[in-house]
Amino acid sequence: MVADRKLTDVELERELAGDLPAARMAEASDADRSRLAELRAESEAFLRSVDVDMEVKRIQQRVERAKPEKAPAWWRFLIPAGALAAAAAVLLVFLRRGDSPNHVDDDIQLKGSGVALIVHLATSGQSQQLGDGDSVKPGDRIRFEIDAPKPGYVAIFGVDGTGKVTLYYPDGPDAAKYNPEDRLMPGAIQLDQTPGDERFMVFYSPKPFSTTTTNPTGMKLDSDIVVLKKIP
């Protein structure tokens, strides 16, 4: 920041938006006011360059597109953790061999950067995003969001503190179709009493794959993992 500036650019943006307390603006230096004038001129030029009504219409269209077809409270789909455990899942056997999806069998090539798993903790009808190392407790309800660049196929697995592997999504032997426009996965899980860290892993491929494949050789999957600490 320039030495004689007292306010940051973000604060000046807030001033333009009518969001900065007057007391704070009173501390502005001449350099701040000069920068504010520049930003104001840029803002006016931007608004002259766009058709505001058209932009608003496009925003409205995006909002409409983002609405779910059915909008019941998502916890109506609550699924107890473990209920969807995949039997005879050979893919899971490979998963058990390592602590992370980057250490699974060499037959499965994991690329690791094309997909992100985002975990949400649901609380009283709202949700809070959780990151690696955040704490959860038994009974917490978890919802999954997947961020991948292109349409494809996805599956989400969990490994609990005892090493038990569970297929959480989808409920079946084939990976679910994924559309980047619908990042939030349907349903939710409720954490059980099993002690230890909970590891959630997403696998993504542009091509269909089986969650119970008996022939993983040559599979190319993108993956991501989130590890949560479970406290009693």
């Binding site: 909002v63 950067s113 949700s127 809070q128």
Partner: protein
């Protein structure tokens, strides 16, 4: 018919008015990250759409400006991640700089941040970007986002911890130890 955006206090905002009040700042923010004015305009639309869709679920007391600014930062970084993934990572720095409209060193910082901030909340990501990309001090971030200095410090410490864990998971520490 004008869209009115319900606010927590019961008041409503006309969407067009909200756009005029905040879009210029959001456009600057998005363009500063993705380096392309047209893409930034698209991101501003996305920012408002996300804000409207999630408005009823917001739990903190941040102002509309702060919420929109966080969403815009998150959406822009998100866009960079996708671009990095689809370009299979290793582009020539000068080509990437031209594509992003930034200096090469800023591009490297941006791309690193884009990958390292995956999984962080919008607030954490915004703080990390302001500090590590825009060079804001902790005091500057606190004043900009209406946070306490202590909260900013905690978020940055969490970010550093997040980066270390991610690096460890990707095996960077093992490789360094073995000279690889």
């Amino acid at each position: 018919m004008a869209w009115r955006i319900a606010a927590k206090g019961g008041e409503g905002d006309d969407l067009a008015e909200l756009y005029k009040r905040h879009a210029p700042a959001l456009h600057r923010r998005c363009a500063g990250i993705v380096g392309n004015a047209e893409e930034a305009r698209d991101l501003v639309q996305e920012t408002f759409a996300r804000y409207i869709s999630a408005r009823s679920t917001f739990t903190d007391k941040a102002s509309p400006f702060t919420m929109l600014y966080r969403i815009a930062t998150n959406a822009s970084i998100d866009r960079l991640r996708r671009r990095k993934t689809s370009s299979e990572d290793e582009l020539d720095p000068e080509v990437r700089a031209g594509d992003l409209g930034h200096e090469p060193h800023r591009v490297d910082k941006l791309l690193d941040l884009a990958m390292l901030t995956r999984g962080l909340s919008e607030e954490e990501l915004t703080v990390a970007v302001l500090h590590h990309l825009d060079g804001y001090t902790q005091d500057g971030i606190a004043a900009s986002l209406d946070l306490s200095r202590k909260t900013v410090g905690k978020i940055l410490a969490k970010f550093e911890d997040h980066v270390k864990k991610r690096a460890a998971r990707l095996g960077y520490e093992d490789r360094r130890a073995s000279g690889g």
